[in-house]
């Protein structure tokens, strides 16, 4: 009798907590999108931001966000995947491995503003680059790598032991086994992890304030020479991202339509992160099906 009541109470508590989480998320989405979506027009997405007048857009910020994300992933994914392979396949259990694992976890939990200040010191001042896209991407890499390592390690560990044994027993080296049997099997997991990490990078502001900067030079989207000053592809130029833009117009914006721009930019940011998450789930399940069910 007593235990039945406790059981009911526990069930009720868990349902309530779940309901609160869902409600919170839905309300947040409703709030951001209902305020922001009316501002999101084609014109808003394709015109440059203005400093004093109303009616500015977020074209450059949107491009910067995507470009920094792209550069970050180019650096992070290979390093993170290699680290994950090492942790899952080569690291021998023991004190050193535990120490490495602790370091990785610490790195993942560093406050992003601290990483930003560290980036300011290293990638901005010591290198003498000033505020650059590459500096921002490297700062983001610092706390993105641990995530990639973790995701890769988990994905590799979830590959059935039998698959690995099958390949090794055929007289195939460990590296070739990793390349041809283990990585293809772990690929959906790694991809999902990478896309989820992308969502985090896309929304990051604090680490970029001091590394990629708060301004964007006038860009000529017709100029594809990555070494030109006004080329959008130049990685040695300052670049204000969407998340940083939201922060900066809110705190130091001089434009009269601060609220509209901030709301619109927030809506775009949230939609992008949402798309990343859904894409990750969809791609992961599609590839998993393809791998396990065969043609």
């Amino acid at each position: 009798m007593n235990s039945r009541i406790t059981d009911r109470i526990a069930t009720g508590v868990f349902y309530t907590i779940a309901a609160i989480m869902v409600a919170l998320l839905l309300y947040l989405f409703y709030f951001i999108l209902s305020n922001g979506l009316p501002q999101v027009t084609w014109d808003f997405l394709t015109s440059p931001s203005s400093s004093y007048q109303a009616g500015g857009g977020i074209r450059d910020q949107l491009f910067n966000s995507l470009y920094i994300l792209f550069i970050t992933m180019i650096i992070t994914v290979p390093l993170g995947v290699c680290g994950g392979i090492y942790m899952a396949e080569y690291a021998k259990p023991g004190k050193i491995t535990n120490f490495i694992r602790t370091c990785i976890e610490m790195l993942a939990s560093l406050p992003s503003i601290v990483v930003g200040l560290f980036g300011l010191l290293i990638f901005v001042n010591i290198t003498g680059w000033g505020y650059t896209i590459i500096g921002g991407a490297l700062a983001l890499t610092i706390f993105n790598i641990p995530v990639m390592v973790r995701v890769t390690e988990d994905a590799i560990r979830s590959v059935p032991k039998e698959q690995k044994e099958a390949s090794l027993a055929l007289g195939i080296t460990r590296w070739h086994t990793i390349k041809t049997v283990i990585l293809p099997y772990a690929f959906p997991g790694i991809l999902t992890g990478a896309i989820l990490a992308s969502g985090r990078v896309f929304g990051e502001a604090a680490a970029l304030l001091y590394t990629a900067g708060l301004s964007t030079p006038t860009l000529d989207y017709g100029n594809w020479n990555p070494f030109a000053e006004n080329s959008p592809l130049n990685i040695f130029r300052p670049a204000e991202t969407l998340a940083v833009h939201i922060w900066s117009v809110n705190t130091q914006g001089l434009i009269p339509d601060v609220r509209e721009v901030a709301n619109g930019a927030s809506a775009v940011l949230v939609i992008a992160v949402l798309v990343f998450n859904l894409l990750a789930r969809w791609l992961g399940s599609v590839i998993h099906k393809k791998l396990t069910a065969g043609k």
């Binding site: 390949s167 007289g171 070739h176 049997v181």
Partner: protein, 277 residues
């Protein structure tokens, strides 16, 4: 023979020639296990085992669960290396060389001593690519040669007629018994000398089971086979020699006929008559 790191030039002395000639008149020994002990940490899973495994014969390893027979068979192609806490003492002599030595090229060794596992474990690739996986790794890229090897190994594994029209379908679309024969075919494609089968039929239905048994009897012509099995009647049907393991000891190792009709040890008799295990 190409599995030593630096291959010592070997010239057989006349004495050795004479010795191998007299051995040939009996049955040639392909694997000579001497005082083999295997430890997991401090736990001794196999205790000073001695066994001469004969060429072109089927050797069955029987015994209750946890008696060390799987550990024993997995040490023959060094699959135990995958378990960090495992350690082996003693010798396994193959082709005149102790394959437990540290400087053995394990990768080359495993292509000469192939292994098939309890649970069918085809790669999630096509039937064709399951067989060519290891061949391509070894540099065989000629499509014609690959086609021939695929057909030959599937024929040897008695699977060709069932799959010849769907070589490029996923191996996972095959039944469990077919998958297991594909795993055997994949191992045969490497042209091993010795075939290790770790309970190859225990996860299969009776029909697939008997197909695997027929296959083992055929393969005996060309390969030396070691098989771990829980199925006593299977051991008596397919094997020439049987070793009975108990708690890590090789209690008895003799001709299968003798083990099953007139064992020397009472423990063996009790086990095969079903009194324990």
């Amino acid at each position: 023979m190409n599995y030593t790191a630096d291959k010592p030039t070997e010239t057989k002395t006349e004495d050795e020639m004479a010795a191998s000639n007299t051995r040939a008149s009996k049955k040639e020994v392909v694997l000579d296990v001497k005082d083999l002990s295997i430890f997991y940490g401090n736990n001794e899973a196999v205790k000073r085992a001695n066994m001469g495994i004969e060429k072109n014969a089927v050797t069955a390893l029987i015994g209750p669960s946890g008696c060390g027979k799987s550990t024993f068979i997995r040490s023959i192609n060094r699959m135990n290396d995958l378990i960090p806490s495992s350690r082996a003492e003693g010798e396994i002599i193959y082709d005149g060389i102790n394959i437990l030595r540290n400087d053995i090229n394990v990768v080359a060794l495993r292509s000469e001593i192939g292994m098939v596992f309890q649970k069918p474990n085809p790669f999630p690739k096509s039937i064709y690519n399951n067989i060519t996986h290891a061949l391509k790794y070894n540099g065989q890229k000629n499509k014609k040669v690959l086609d021939e090897i695929v057909e030959e190994s599937l024929r040897k594994a008695a699977l060709w007629d069932e799959v010849k029209d769907r070589l490029h379908q996923s191996a996972l679309s095959l039944s469990g018994g077919q998958q297991q024969r594909l795993c055997i075919a994949r191992t045969l494609a490497m042209e091993p000398q010795i075939l290790l089968l770790d309970e190859p039929a225990s996860a299969l239905d009776p029909v697939s089971n008997s197909k695997i048994e027929e296959l083992i009897l055929q393969l005996k012509e060309d390969y030396s086979i070691v098989i771990v099995t829980h199925n006593m009647s299977q051991a008596s049907r397919v094997s020439d020699k049987t070793a009975f393991f108990l708690n890590g000891d090789v209690v008895e190792y003799d001709d299968t006929k003798k083990i099953f009709t007139n064992p020397s040890e009472t423990k063996t008799e009790e086990y095969i008559s079903g009194r324990f295990g």
